[in-house]
Symmetry: C2
Subunit: 214 residues, 2 copies
């Protein structure tokens, strides 16, 4: 399989991540926005990734990963999440601080170091945000989940994951003691009830970051 550059790996990872918790394939426009680059830059890289067999693309259509692309993408996701886990468990990072560091290191560590870190951590299956860490063969368990913002009032469940996209949301939730494993009941789109019974208000961004068991 063709080697990939750090830039290409970020494209593949972002395409993969888009469909991880939601079915629609990603469009060039959305990919450009997520990566913080111009749409025309996506067009160019898509041409290369398609030529190398990592993505399938018909002009003006959405972007989907080929089997080879999925393998490469999950390998990058695996690195990212193991690095985040390592930073939190071994080096005193909080869950809102790890993302940028992992974004760089995921392209820099060798397979050898990745395996050493994984063994050192005891083969964790989820990162600090509750995201599943793919196994070395690319497989990962997918648990049915609902976005808190989309959950019906009255729905009660366990926090499965919290999107790591917005550090401010992560800090606010940590402050409230909410994280993967927390039990929550949905009161309305901006209020949850904690196990102790007290009501807790949530910013709209927080409600769109938390995924509960369905």
């Amino acid at each position: 399989m063709k080697p990939t550059t750090p830039a290409a790996e970020d494209y593949l990872k972002t395409i993969y991540a888009h469909t991880e918790w939601q079915p629609d394939p990603i469009t060039p426009r959305v990919l450009a926005t997520r990566l913080g680059i111009a749409p025309s830059s996506v067009t160019e890289m898509v041409k290369k990734l398609a030529a190398d067999g990592f993505i399938a693309h018909v002009p003006y259509g959405p972007l989907t990963l080929t089997p080879a692309g999925r393998i490469r993408a999950t390998a990058v996701v695996r690195r990212h999440r193991l690095i985040e886990t390592w930073l939190v468990r071994e080096l005193g990072y909080t869950w809102d601080e790890v993302h940028d560091e992992a974004e760089v290191l995921e392209h820099a560590i060798s397979d050898r170091l990745l395996e050493a870190i994984e063994a050192h951590l005891g083969h964790p299956t989820a990162d600090p945000h509750g995201d599943p860490i793919p196994a070395a063969d690319g497989s990962s368990e997918r648990v049915p989940a609902v976005l808190l913002a989309d959950a019906a009032p009255g729905h009660a469940g366990t926090v499965l994951r919290v999107s790591d996209r917005d550090p401010a949301v992560l800090r606010a939730l940590a402050e409230a003691g909410i994280g993967p494993g927390s039990r929550l009941a949905v009161v309305d789109a901006t209020t949850v009830r904690l196990p102790a019974g007290e009501l807790h208000p949530l910013a709209a961004e927080a409600a769109r970051a938390i995924w509960l068991t369905s």
Copy 2:
């Protein structure tokens, strides 16, 4: 101070390393050979590094670091050696395996992570090869040392450092139990006497890799 790219950092580090154990400044030709690139590539990068104030260079002359260049170079060396130390002490690497990994990671970790690793290791002052780890301010202790290959027969001393350039040499020395801190007496250019009294033959490359107290 201007930011530096990974490539520029490798140039600065290599220029610095050249004078660390020997006084003559490096020439473009030698720098190109060390970096494994063409001499004309060095000419180009030297122009940029000189324009940015990191090196001093008169055409056709040798390359020397400015104070700004020395600060940047020691920062990279500090990263490199702390990473090597961390790989050996925490993750089961041997001293012949760490160099390539550190060569990449030295450009990838944040200041935040560097400080966390350093604290986690207890602020070590030397890396697995005995090379001094510069402090955050760039300072480092320089101990007088002689290359084993240049030492007079009969000279006895402690191994201060072993060059990490050739992994095969490092493996052979580890096999013989020779490393920083070992006591050795020089018999001739290719033989040393160990503390137990036995003689040990050394390859010429090994004799040019070992530095003893003078």
